[in-house]
Symmetry: C2
Amino acid sequence: MTARPAFGGIEAGGTKWVCGLTDERGDLVATDVIPTTTPDETLGRAVRFFAGHETIRAIGVGSFGPLDLDPASPTHGSITTTPKPDWSDTDLLSPLRQAVGVPIALDTDVNAAALGEWRHVAGAGLHSLCYITVGTGIGAGAVVGGRLLHGSGHLEFGHLRIPHDTARDPFPGSCPHHGDCLEGLASGEALRHRWGRPAEDLDDPAVWHLEAEYLAHAIANAAYALAPQRVIVGGGVAQHPALLPRLRERLARDALRQQAVVTW
Amino acid sequence: MTARPAFGGIEAGGTKWVCGLTDERGDLVATDVIPTTTPDETLGRAVRFFAGHETIRAIGVGSFGPLDLDPASPTHGSITTTPKPDWSDTDLLSPLRQAVGVPIALDTDVNAAALGEWRHVAGAGLHSLCYITVGTGIGAGAVVGGRLLHGSGHLEFGHLRIPHDTARDPFPGSCPHHGDCLEGLASGEALRHRWGRPAEDLDDPAVWHLEAEYLAHAIANAAYALAPQRVIVGGGVAQHPALLPRLRERLARDALRQQAVVTW
């Protein structure tokens, strides 16, 4: 390591944890990728990554959830009830705090991504944006008036109700709670259920025409409900090369105001 | 007038302007209702209502729009382009400022309502809420983190895209831009077009069953996109007594979290 680490970060995902250290300027000086196994093992490896670097001043953690983010709660900083085996009620912060005595900030993975886009990437210089991730599931984070939106718990953007023409698309949707909500129609999981293969293997233009239709509805609803200066779309499914041109065409056709810009 | 007026307010609507003066405690001490005719006549009567009260310290104006609310704009404080004859490019603030030399705040009618609900009524004590008005049109204002949400212009909540089962409801929607967006399906204007009579004259339970379905979608989308602690529904159409019980039932059926409370 050539530079003294100043800041730490963890992208705590359900498959892997990506840990990083940056210098004062925010340039990465070290990373580690840890497979998400048991909480003890995974947190133990993360702790070992950060421990001993006495120049670290703060650590930011963006985690899969749901999370208890209420500072007044006795279980603040924990994953609450997750279908992921062993991870319900996992205290994410205490092991890190004990090992590294610096301020640690925790937020959802998608809020952390929204914050990152706002500070450094496609949202730099704006006062409001909405970041939508389209991967296995669909989630969103928003910056409003220069602050991350924290309402009553997380945004549950994936459950937006959108138009679904069952004559053209008879797929009933894959959401166990709502059937054909946004996530039930347009997530990677939905694509896999509807077309029988994962998103990256789907090349039929009809697949991406339909996907663009649903995501355009989602972007429109984000624009109408949040009035962001920009909508940023990320996530694995959104990166399929067939999607972006169709999505731009669809947004233009729907006469969406300029605020609904899609960038990666 | 028994008390010295301290604060002034205008609800500037397309049909009438309601002007009021309150004492220090916020209790009304005088009101006037002015028909909305030409800008000169209407603003002239409003100016005469407030002029001469030298104890007034500030005036708040909630107006129909669209409004130019950008403080950096040379036309800040004006109605921009409205279909209402004579009112496009009307400077709302200068005549008041010239007559009454006190600070004047301007926002949209629905943001003013959201602010009022938050400060004094159904949203008191909360840090986030969404206020939806269902009248001739549909609009919304939101408080996020203890501040009115001002993104890129106004919320255009009325244009939310929601599910529309055309087999059950073949009405194509009344929105000139989107057809069957929320406003096109559920506003007072939509009800009048679909059923041939104004909302207050509609007593068929099927009318209100359908209306509750569409408004439940809108409330769900507000909850999913903004995560407010409470959703407050107001406006003339929403006050029909047949609506609220059906809406509550529908929200419960959709398993909406407790944040989506409906109050009037």
